[in-house]
Symmetry: C2
C-alpha cells in the first residue's frame, strides 16, 4: 500500500509520501513515490503516485522521456498546470489500457493508479490536482486544500482538525508528518522512509526535499511529542457522565 498527501496552501505546496511497496506481505520493497520535474525560474512539478507499481513507474518514465522531446506537448513545455494534469491523465489512460488489454481472461490484476500533481508554472499560482485511474482529475481549492491517495483514512482526522488554507507551510508539514505517523501505527503496509518536499509560492525551486528515516531526530521528536500530547489530552477529558441528557 501507499500513503501520500499534498497540501496546497496560501504559501505554497507541501508534499509527503511513504515509500513502502508490497505485493502481498512477503514482497515488500522501498520505492520512491515522489518525483520532481524542475526548470529554474519557470516551473516546479511534483508527482506522487499510488497503485500498481508497474503502472506508476511506466507513467513516470514515459512522462520523463517525453519531456525531452520538444516537438510535442510535454510536462516541461506546457504553459499551465491544467495542461500538465491533462497530459498525465492521457498517459495514465495509455498505460492502463496497454497493460490491462494484455491481461489473460480470468486474471484479475488491478492495473489502476492515482496520481497527485502539485507545483507551479510561471504565470499561474501554485495548483494541486488529483488524477484518477480513468485519467480525469479534480483540483484542490481553498475550501478543500489537500488531497490524499492510498491508505488515506487513518491519517485524515488529524488533517481535518488542524489544516486550513492559511496554515503556514512548516506547520502543514508537521501536520502531514503526524498524519503519516498515525497511518504507520495502524497499517503495516505503509512504511518509512518518507519522501517530503516543501514548495514555496513563486520560488520555482526544488531544493527543500528531504528523505526521512527512522533515525531523523525531528520526526522522532514529534512522534513522541504527539503521542504524549494526545495521551495527556485524553487523560484530561472530563469524567464520564452520559445520563444527564
Amino acid at each position: 500500500m501507499t500513503y501520500c498527501v499534498a497540501m496546497r496552501l496560501s504559501g505554497g505546496v507541501v508534499f509527503a509520501s511513504d515509500s513502502r511497496t508490497n505485493a502481498g506481505v512477503d514482497h515488500i520493497s522501498t520505492f520512491r513515490k515522489l518525483h520532481v520535474l524542475h526548470q529554474d525560474s519557470e516551473r516546479t512539478l511534483v508527482l506522487q503516485s499510488a497503485g500498481n507499481l508497474a503502472t506508476t513507474q511506466s507513467i513516470i518514465n514515459l512522462l520523463r522521456l517525453r519531456a525531452k522531446d520538444d516537438e510535442r506537448a510535454n510536462l516541461l513545455n506546457t504553459t499551465s498546470m491544467f495542461d500538465a494534469a491533462s497530459l498525465i491523465g492521457e498517459t495514465v489512460r495509455e498505460v492502463i489500457h496497454r497493460d490491462s488489454s494484455a491481461q489473460q481472461s480470468g486474471s484479475s490484476t488491478d492495473f489502476s493508479c492515482n496520481i497527485l500533481l502539485g507545483g507551479q508554472i510561471i504565470g499561474e499560482p501554485p495548483r494541486l490536482f488529483h488524477i484518477y485511474p480513468e485519467g480525469n482529475f479534480i483540483e484542490a481549492t481553498e475550501d478543500t486544500p489537500y488531497f490524499q491517495i492510498g491508505e488515506s483514512k487513518y491519517g485524515k482526522p488529524i488533517i481535518d482538525r488542524v489544516l486550513t488554507y492559511d496554515t503556514p507551510l512548516e506547520q502543514a508539514m508537521c501536520c502531514a508528518l503526524i498524519s503519516i505517523d498515525s497511518t504507520l501505527r495502524s497499517n503495516l503496509s505503509v512504511g518509512l522512509p518518507l519522501d517530503v518536499m516543501i514548495y514555496r509560492r513563486d520560488s520555482f525551486a526544488s531544493d527543500e526535499q528531504y528523505r526521512i528515516t527512522e533515525k531523523n531526530p525531528y520526526f522522532a521528536t514529534i512522534r513522541k511529542a504527539w503521542s504524549e500530547g494526545l495521551l495527556n489530552t485524553f487523560l484530561q477529558m472530563p469524567p464520564l457522565n452520559l445520563a444527564e441528557e
Copy 2:
C-alpha cells in the same frame, strides 16, 4: 455505512455504535445497531451489526425468535460465549445463503454483514467475538482487546494510542466516543445518535445503556475538549527542522 466498536477489558466490556443506515446518499435512516439479550444474574449478550440491513435485521430477528424455543440451542440457553458465537455464525450463513441464492443473475447486491458479540455467560469471564460474513469468528485477547466493524479506519488511530486491556471502563467509553467523533467528522455516512453500553464484569446487568444525541452535554463537552486539546498539542509541536539528520 456504520461504525461500531467494542472493547473487552479487565473490568468488563464497552460498546458504542452509530445508527446511520444508507442505501446511496438519498435513502438515509436511523436504525439501532446495538441489541441486548439479557437474563438476570446469568447472562448479558450484546450484538452490534454492520452491513446489509435486511441481512442484519433478519439475523437479529431469527436469533430473538429462536431464543423463545427452549427445545433447541439458542442464545438464552447456551452455556458459553463460544457456543453463542457459533449459533450467530450459523444464522449469518443461513440468512446470507437464503438471500443471495434468490438473487437474479447479473445483479450484484452485497448481502454480507459483520457482527460483534460481547458480554458474559455465568461460569465464564466476559468475552468478545467478531463474526464474519462467512460465519466464522475471532475472539478478542488481552493483546488486542478491541474490535471494530464498518467504517473503522478513521477512528482506529486514537484507540491504538490510548487503549490497553487495563483501561478503566469509563475511560474506554470516552475513548470510544472520541473514536466515533473522529469518524463522524471524516465520513458523512456515519451519524448520530449513538447507542452505547457499559457492561461491568460479573454484573450480568444491562442497565448502563444510553442513547447519545447531538444534544448530549457530555458528548458535546468531550468533542470540544478533544478538538481543542488536539489543536493545542499541534500548536506546541517543535518548529520544523528536517535537515539535521
